[in-house]
């Protein structure tokens, strides 16, 4: 009995730790974007912002399951994914400000972040065009037998594109180790799903492929974390890809840092319903339920706040790259 009790204690400790780790990443993504909102009016970050706010549970829940060498491909809306996968806060802000200290030195900006050594393999601002690249990367991983998993994120708009269906078909045909993650916010820019899709259930259709299919509508990052672990297990055991369909609510406008509930295509009431289960607040409540003291949580939050402040200040103070940078890293 004593032994069993001891083991349970260990498990509980790990769960608490997991919850806290997830919260750290959620809080980082949220606070980083709050800071962007605060400073965007200064017109120093001259890059179109597609904000992650509302999406953080998906980004964090999935990326937290991944190993450092696993590879993520994403979209122009990738702030949360980038931070959750790489933790590179300095580089994140330096790239937003287009400074020499960033890996891409401002050539990519908000829409085209990339950190290959941290497994963040790139993005596309052409909807769905990154999906086949991820599938090809998964093919190479399988061929090389390196055990790396590829995760590709895309929105529901990508489901309208040929590249999505073509890539899904190829991945299923070739049995590739790839996790397709559809982050469904119900809109392609401002056009609702009902105005774009001649079918009622994407998961029904994808389940007719030789593919694992998982679906969830939740803002609970722990649920998504567990679901992703299940997905990875399925990919390994069935030797088939997995398609995950995850609903979320985009808090801000399609592009830009403001709300757009007065635009007429969606309502503030809808937002308020979702905000009741905001992923960051929800996880914070869980920590309190795990008997983590509020002061301890605040301490963690202040730590992250300070890191963000430092990164932001360094980015603002850094220099722009020399103009010859234009001709670096290009094909000649």
């Amino acid at each position: 009995m004593a032994r069993l009790f001891q083991e349970r204690k260990v498990v509980e400790f790990d769960m608490t730790r997991l919850s806290l780790d997830l919260y750290r990443k959620l809080y980082l993504a949220r606070r980083a974007e709050e800071k962007i909102r605060e400073h965007y009016v200064e017109d120093e970050m001259k890059t179109p912002m597609h904000m992650s706010m509302g999406e953080e549970a998906i980004a964090v829940g999935i990326c937290h399951t991944l190993k450092a060498e696993d590879q993520v491909f994403a979209t122009y809306r990738s702030h949360a994914i980038y931070l959750a996968k790489t933790g590179k806060i300095d580089d994140f802000f330096a790239e937003m400000y287009g400074k020499d200290t960033a890996l891409l030195k401002g050539k990519g900006g908000s829409m085209h972040m990339c950190a290959p050594e941290a497994g963040f393999m790139g993005t596309s601002a052409i909807v769905a065009s990154i999906i086949p690249v991820a599938v090809g990367a998964a093919f190479a991983n399988k061929r090389q037998g390196n055990g790396k998993l590829v995760v590709v994120f895309f929105g529901d708009g990508a489901l309208d594109e040929g590249d999505f269906w073509e890539s899904l078909n190829v991945a299923c045909l070739m049995k590739l180790p790839v996790l397709f993650v559809c982050e469904d916010n119900g809109f392609a820019v401002h056009t609702a799903t009902s105005k774009r899709q001649g079918y009622s259930s994407i998961t029904d259709i994808v389940s007719k492929f030789n593919c694992n299919v998982l679906k969830k509508n939740t803002t609970d990052t722990e649920v998504i974390y567990k679901l992703t672990r299940q997905a990875i297990k399925l990919i390994k055991t069935t030797q088939m890809p997995c398609f995950m369909h995850l609903g979320y609510y985009r808090y801000l406008e399609h592009v830009g840092v403001n709300e757009d509930f007065d635009a007429g295509y969606r309502s503030r009431e809808e937002f308020e319903e979702w905000y009741k289960v905001d992923p960051v607040n929800l996880q914070r409540k869980k920590l309190l339920n795990h008997n983590i003291k509020e002061e301890e949580i605040i301490k963690v939050e202040r730590e992250i706040d300070n890191r963000i402040e430092n990164s932001l200040r360094s980015a603002k103070e850094a220099l722009f790259a020399d103009p010859v940078e234009l001709y670096r890293s290009v094909v000649v």
């Binding site: 590879q71 050539k107 065009s129 599938v135 093919f139 890293s329 094909v331």
Partner: protein, 346 residues
């Protein structure tokens, strides 16, 4: 030295590179089928297996993105299209993804992707199986474009393309597949940089691309009998475009005709004309003259198709006009006829 066909040279280049480097693989629609892309992929599947030589679903755009993804993860894919027209379905991946990936990863990710595509012509190929399109690809920074003409170049340029860490599009004219030439047996490379003087001459420079080099040779043989000495320059690699030999040649002859196997407007011929004007203005005895496809879709029926394409006769007439010569009697000349050797269907 032994002589092999252009097609055999392409095949040998791929085969030797696959042997040398296990990361090289070949794929595309119909690549391992019984026709083997006009024979250019013959023997590869038997030698290297379906793992490294495979067919694909009909999805050119995503299979191009697939090649990009495999390339950034250390593979060396060769994607083959039996017609360059089909490659237009991949223009999104080429222009939006493949060309920019190295730059947008700060040079941390290389894209050693080769795309082979074939220009069709003749025997009723029609407007969707006969385009060249290379000017459009060469327009995009980040893509290299090569147009091998000789068997030797087919092998040397393709091996260079496979070993290059950047995306290279290799555009092959269908009619060149039967041309034979001396090709070393061992693997060798020809840098993707700079032109090749196929025939030296003093009176006029003809810059010819792809199949038009064959037409330029015919023109040169005929006018040579009248004492006209034509220098034929094959640019070979049009992106990056190293114009050094072309400029040197025009500086010597003072006259330049560009015979391009493509439409003229905004095409590679315009680039050559512009470079020659910029760099040889004071040496030019007459304006640069361009010959290319008629500005129409390519018709299927023979007599209209013959009107559509540039040929040796058009080159001869252009040279005569530029040198103010009386027209040569061509009534007894025997020009290349594709239909004499090719009875279709594809």
């Amino acid at each position: 030295m032994r002589k092999i066909t252009y097609c055999e040279a392409l095949n040998e280049a791929m085969s030797q590179e696959m042997e040398r480097d296990p990361s090289v693989f070949v794929y595309g629609i119909g690549v391992p089928d019984h026709k083997r892309v006009f024979g250019s992929t013959a023997g590869l599947v038997e030698r290297f297996g379906m793992e490294r030589c495979f067919d694909t679903p009909l999805c050119e755009d995503s299979m191009t993105g697939f090649g990009l993804g495999a390339a950034i993860n250390g593979m060396r894919p060769i994607h083959i299209h039996i017609r360059v027209d089909f490659l237009l379905l991949a223009m999104n991946q080429l222009a939006n993804m493949v060309s920019a990936y190295k730059c947008m990863s700060a040079g941390e990710l290389n894209v050693p992707l080769v795309i082979r595509a074939i220009i069709g012509r003749g025997w009723g190929q029609g407007f969707q199986h006969s385009k060249s399109m290379y000017s459009a690809f060469a327009h995009i920074p980040g893509l290299k474009v090569v147009l091998p003409v000789t068997s030797r170049d087919a092998k040397g340029l393709l091996i260079s393309a496979i070993r290059d860490d950047n995306p290279v599009i290799c555009i092959e004219h269908r009619w060149l597949y039967w041309q034979t030439g001396e090709v070393p047996e061992e693997p060798f490379t020809i840098p993707l940089d700079g032109a090749n003087i196929l025939r030296e001459g003093n009176d006029i420079t003809v810059v010819a691309t792809s199949w038009m080099n064959v037409e330029a040779f015919a023109a040169s043989d005929i006018l040579g009998r009248r004492g006209i000495s034509i220098e034929i320059v094959d640019p070979r690699t049009i992106a990056p475009f190293n114009d050094e030999l072309i400029i040197k040649s025009v500086a010597k002859t003072g006259r330049c005709i560009v015979a391009d196997n493509d439409w003229l407007n905004c095409g590679f011929s315009a680039e050559v004309a512009a470079r020659v004007s910029e760099k040889c203005f004071d040496k030019l005895k007459s304006p640069v003259y361009r010959i290319g496809f008629a500005p129409t879709p390519c018709p299927t029926v023979r007599h209209l198709e013959n009107e559509f394409y540039p040929n040796a006769v058009k080159i001869i007439r252009a040279i005569e006009e530029m040198l103010r010569l009386e027209p040569t009697d061509l009534s007894k000349e025997d020009f290349y006829s594709h239909e004499r050797r090719f009875k279709g269907p594809f």
